[in-house]
């Protein structure tokens, strides 16, 4: 609008001059500043055009302006939904309320509101999580805070987003039991514009900001993303066997026979068994043969000291071995010790 100033040069007293100056005064006071958004000029912005002719008649200079054309910027409806977690979310069978984090962004050029829908019964995965609830990040900290972040209820608290604004949404699922290690389960969230959806270019007349038309953008005014849980079903395998050596060179379990116990421990599945401690009571009617405690290829002292095991030190009458944090990659841990039948 201010451009009109540049072209007015004549000094004629006319309705034109008072109108134009009046217009200029109003234009500097009333025109809102319009913002350039990621999706383009804000919906409702008026685009005005006016041309000026400057000419001479018998060497006297004159200037005339054209009418002003006004075009209003219509509203584009677009939304982008992106799963936020860095990778598949690790869960254990039977876990409850496991959180998936999504971000919904209004990628249009006007304020819009959106319905949300969660779906966990998708095909193409190993198990179906059970949808426990959808929550809005009410305190905007990007983290699910139980009791603080409000539950999303369709048509009750549908998020309203200005152009370029986002909201973080949490989807909570329960994990079934009886799952295998590395099983994958998918959960999908969809956001849909309440103003209109459909093929890009579909017009919803008058539904845009400031009464302009709303036009469905390239996203179809709806977007979804699918998140994945991965199961860590770690188990610890403990297998015990015994070899018998009697005093006569045979293998009869008679008094005086030496029983060599072998306890084989390993981790099955992905993950870490943390602070794994194996305890094995010395059987009744037998006596532990001092100094026979072994872990893999090294012998351990019977006393409770810096090494991994003891007999009767931590607990009287019990072999205690501390295997620390054990993973499947460490392989089988073999513990052996001898007792003699009383």
């Amino acid at each position: 609008m201010q451009h009109i100033l540049v072209s007015i040069r004549n000094e004629r007293k006319s309705a034109l001059k008072s109108l134009v100056f009046g217009f200029l005064l109003l234009s500097t006071v009333c025109l809102p500043t319009q913002v350039a958004l990621a999706a383009g000029t804000a919906a409702g912005t008026p685009i005005t055009n006016q041309a000026t002719a400057d000419y001479t008649v018998n060497s006297t200079a004159f200037s005339e302006t054209s009418n002003v054309t006004t075009t209003r910027v219509a509203e584009i409806l677009n939304v982008d939904l992106v799963w936020q977690d860095a990778g598949n979310v690790t869960v254990r069978p039977g876990d409850m309320d496991r959180v998936l984090t999504f971000q919904v962004t209004n990628t249009g050029n006007g304020t819009d509101d959106y319905t949300l829908a969660g779906l966990s019964t998708l095909g193409g995965d190993d198990f179906d999580p059970t949808l426990a609830g959808i929550y809005l990040d009410s305190n905007g900290n990007g983290v699910y805070d139980a009791g603080t972040d409000t539950q999303y209820i369709l048509n009750t608290n549908d998020p309203v987003l200005a152009a370029d604004a986002s909201v973080t949404v949490f989807v909570l699922n329960n994990i079934p039991g009886a799952l295998s290690d590395n099983d994958l389960g998918n959960s999908q969230l969809t956001a849909t514009s309440k103003t209109g959806t459909g093929a890009p270019g579909t017009v919803v007349a008058g539904a845009g900001e400031l009464g302009t038309d709303a036009v469905v953008g390239t996203s179809g005014a709806s977007d979804d993303d699918t998140a994945t849980y991965i199961v860590s079903a770690l188990t610890v395998s403990v297998v015990k066997s015994v070899a018998i050596a009697d005093p006569f060179g045979g293998s009869e379990p008679v008094p005086g026979a030496v029983l060599t116990y072998t306890v084989s421990v390993s981790v099955v599945g992905t993950g870490t068994a943390e602070g794994l401690v194996i305890t094995d009571p010395i059987p009744a009617d037998t006596t532990y043969n001092a100094g026979t405690l072994n872990l893999n290829t090294g012998s351990l002292t019977d006393a409770a000291d810096a090494d991994a095991g003891d007999v009767g030190g931590t607990t009287p009458g019990v072999v205690t071995i501390d295997l620390g944090d054990l993973t499947n990659a460490a392989g089988i841990q073999t513990i052996t010790f001898d007792v003699t039948i009383n």
Partner: protein, 165 residues
């Protein structure tokens, strides 16, 4: 001379100015009529697809608007040294090579209308003061300098296209 009433409301003023049928100014020797249109695909009477122009009342970002200025010498005398200037509307980006006007030299400004030149002579400066050739997106004004005087009742049109950002 038509008496015009100025109202305080912005909205009412805009509505008034775009009414079209009422001229907003005293009629001088040259009359200018500005038109804004968009092209749409439509089906004609035979069911074939055709392109037609409709008024650009509502436009989405990315859409192209066709601006046309019709000029007429409706005065009493021949007008000389006729120059038509159109500032690029805010939020509109000039479409390269789209300016047209029979019988006119077309020049552009990149400095808010202070100076005008043909495209190859337009330069802009960056923050360090280095000069670069200006691009269509840098243009602030378009100007048509008519090559000859306009006798009585002579008329013509000039135009250009711009894309809404």
């Amino acid at each position: 001379m038509k008496k015009l009433t100025i109202t305080v409301s912005c909205l009412m003023l805009l509505t008034f100015v775009t009414a079209g049928t009422l001229w907003a100014q005293k009629k001088g020797d040259i009359e200018l009529k500005a038109v804004a249109e968009i092209e749409i695909e439509d089906f004609n009477a035979e069911g074939k697809k055709e392109i037609k122009r409709v008024p650009a009342t509502k436009v989405v970002p990315g859409e192209e608007v066709i601006y046309t200025i019709h000029y007429t010498n409706s005065g009493q005398k021949t007008t000389d040294n006729v120059v038509i200037t159109n500032p690029l509307p805010e939020h509109m980006r000039y479409k390269d090579s789209s300016a047209a006007g029979v019988g006119a030299t077309i020049v552009f400004s990149v400095d808010g209308g202070k100076t005008f030149a043909t495209p190859e002579n337009l330069k802009i400066q960056d923050a360090l003061g280095r000069e670069f050739p200006a691009a269509a997106s840098d243009y602030t004004h378009i100007r048509w300098v008519l090559l000859s005087s306009l006798p009585l009742n002579a008329k013509g049109q000039v135009g250009f296209r711009a894309v809404l950002e």
